[in-house]
């Protein structure tokens, strides 16, 4: 039996739809604007003539960008950092979270505190910077000359993600593990054949968190990667922006300087836009298990 909506409920429903629509459009607008500006002619973009739709369409900005070797280089560096960074972080986090999820682990409380404390107290930028410099010296003394590997190994670990994984592993019923052990599974087999398949959604979420934070990482990559040709895409975008913001810049291209930046920005977010809808359904499930317990 359907009940008639009361007047206050109806009003609230209408308000919800209207405001949510406005907010959703606000979330989308900058991207639409960026695409339109990237493919519009120079004079329209510079005179602020673009509001939503492109005018005087040109693809020069994209073409020039695609012909720029530095752009592809930056893209490759970002892919490198994202792939190896996520792999390394997931490996460390899964192994650690699995061990922490075991009740039989001695000093379990101590290890947990060791993790959680880093969420309360972080040393700050400057000490971290000097610590990374020390690490870089150590790395170089053992022959790892690429700063990329420093960024991959030393950065991007987050205690929160390990706790997410740990909570997911704790939710796996111990009977299944016991059954596997009776069947002669080793510790590693229990992890790969029982725990990983049973906490897929959390693993997908955490992997996405790691990958996104790698893809988007800017500050430390800029500080620690000294060679220009090793810079990832985010650093590349920022440097380009600073370049066109220079008041003495002489811009002689047939498209606006802003269009070049918009084109870069679009290329930087396209991979995220592609994988995001597939993995978005896991979020609510994965994130809900995020309560920190000790």
């Amino acid at each position: 039996m359907k009940r008639k909506l009361e007047i206050s409920e109806l009003i609230f429903k209408i308000i919800s739809y209207v405001l949510l629509t406005v907010f959703a459009l606000c979330c989308l607008y900058p991207f639409v604007f960026a695409i339109s500006s990237a493919i519009s002619g120079r004079s329209v973009v510079e005179q602020g003539g673009i509001i939503l739709f492109p005018k005087q369409i040109q693809f020069e900005a994209f073409k020039v960008m695609f012909e720029d070797n530095m752009f592809w280089n930056a893209y490759a560096n970002t892919l490198f950092l994202t792939f190896y960074g996520t792999l390394w972080a997931m490996g460390v986090a899964i192994l650690g979270a699995y061990a922490l999820s075991k009740k039989r682990l001695l000093f379990r409380k101590g290890f947990n505190f060791f993790l959680v404390f880093t969420m309360w107290f972080s040393a700050g930028i400057l000490p971290q910077y000097r610590n990374y410099i020390n690490t870089r010296n150590v790395f170089q003394s053992v022959g790892i000359m690429d700063d990329k590997w420093l960024v991959v190994i030393a950065m991007g670990m987050a205690a929160m993600n390990i706790i997410l994984l740990r909570n997911a592993f704790e939710g796996v019923p111990s009977e299944i593990e016991e059954a596997a052990i009776v069947d002669g599974a080793t510790e590693m087999q229990v992890l790969t054949n029982v725990y990983l398949p049973m906490s897929k959604s959390t693993i997908a979420t955490v992997a996405l968190f790691f990958a996104i934070s790698r893809w988007n990482g800017y500050f430390w990559a800029k500080q620690m990667i000294s060679k220009y040709q090793e810079h990832p895409l985010q650093v590349f975008i920022r440097l380009k922006l600073e370049e066109i913001q220079n008041p003495e810049l002489i811009w002689a291209e047939p498209y606006a300087a802003d269009s070049a930046i918009y084109a870069l920005v679009i290329c930087a977010i396209i991979p995220i836009l592609i994988i995001y809808p597939f993995i978005q359904k896991y979020f609510a499930k994965g994130v809900n298990m995020g309560g920190v317990k000790e």
């Binding site: 429903k13 192994l95 893809w215 802003d258 977010i269 836009l273």
Partner: protein, 354 residues
């Protein structure tokens, strides 16, 4: 635990004499072999402990070693020595920061105030938004419409700070007379047409104006996180049993009363937890975003402690000590806030995070 001689002895009631307590001897024996037992357990289960090792190493080297570097706030900096061997300088840097006489210390107090103001505004404007959005989501019963809204509103969370700040700086860009002339950014134009800003302000670029840093920071913050942060609240809201609403409706509750007596009590614990997290990170202003948005014209409102420390500490090795002292103060106060907020929440509502 320290044992006294009397713990080993019991009064034998038959003879009236003291004799050794056999149970205590057993306990002694166990205690003597405790570490051996621990070692054996670890050895037997060595695979499990080996799995823990990479994580412990990563956290030790790149989370705890920086804390050791932080100790340079008590030391006279010397590039050739590790922090532990540098000369101890006591609390002199802290005194200098507190005294408020030097320009640097005034800059520090400005940064400290800005940190609080930015976080406090974030708490006032940024915190309620996800809750409101979650309430709105709850009104949308069609699954397809809801997922469309969710996809759109979560999206900004996954965009990098660099991309976001790049878009912002182009949308509110200054005008320029280069070539045929470049107009101010589209958002500036909108604000100008609405009469909120004057033409000169728009032409100078909003990011170069200290009055606009805070609104820009908060609005982009809401844009970025409000949708995504609503997940937690929305999950709490859809967990409410429909019978609760029905009961309230039969009792004649209008929408407002349903909110007040059904929804709010059910999501209160979630709100408290999120509030604790928020207060805990009150002093943890995202430095990356500030670094990318501010410039020397907007230090007055934009400079926060971490950017203050970063700017000064990296510019000159003489300033490493005092910059570390600033970070230390910020972090210690931040940690006290987390623990304090958590304790209050635990006392008040049985909800606590840690």
């Amino acid at each position: 635990m320290k044992l006294k001689a009397v713990d080993y002895l019991v009064l034998d009631e038959k003879t009236g004499k003291y004799r050794e307590d056999p149970e205590q001897l057993v306990r002694d024996e166990v205690e003597k072999h405790r570490w051996k037992h621990v070692g054996l357990t670890i050895l037997k289960d060595w695979r499990l402990y080996l799995m823990l090792v990479p994580m412990l190493l990563v956290f030790f080297f790149w989370r705890y070693m920086p804390m050791y570097e932080l100790l340079s706030c008590f030391k006279v900096y010397d590039a050739n020595l590790p922090v532990a061997d540098q000369l101890y300088s006591g609390f002199s840097y802290f005194k200098e920061l507190f005294a408020g006489e030097t320009p640097l210390s005034q800059e520090f107090w400005r940064a400290f105030r800005n940190t609080f103001v930015i976080s406090f505004y974030g708490l006032c404007f940024g915190f309620p938004m996800p809750i409101i959005i979650a309430l709105f989501f709850n009104e949308i019963k069609s699954n397809i419409a809801r997922s469309v809204y969710q996809v759109l509103t979560y999206l900004p969370k996954f965009i990098s700070t660099v991309v976001m700040t790049t878009l912002v700086s182009l949308l509110v860009r200054q005008s320029s007379s280069a070539g045929a002339g470049i107009q101010m950014g589209i958002i500036s134009q909108l604000l100008y047409n609405l009469g909120i800003i004057t033409e000169e302000v728009g032409n100078a670029g909003l990011l170069n104006n200290p009055d606009f840093f805070r609104p820009i920071y908060q609005i982009t913050g809401i844009w970025e996180t409000a949708g995504y942060d609503s997940i937690v609240f929305f999950a709490a809201i859809i967990a409410i049993s429909p019978t609760s609403y029905e009961a309230a409706q039969i009792d004649g509750a209008n929408k407002w009363a349903q909110m007040r007596y059904v929804v709010l009590p059910s999501i209160l614990s979630t709100i408290v937890i999120m509030l604790i997290t928020r207060i805990g990170s009150l002093l943890n202003v995202g430095y990356e975003k500030v670094l990318l948005l501010y410039n020397d014209k907007t230090y007055v409102t934009a400079d926060v402690v971490s950017t203050f420390a970063q700017r000064n500490g990296l510019s000159s090795s003489f300033l490493i000590g005092i910059s570390s002292a600033a970070e230390m103060l910020n972090n210690v106060v931040g940690m006290l806030l987390v623990i304090g907020a958590n304790t209050i929440a635990r006392k008040a509502s049985d909800v606590s995070l840690y």
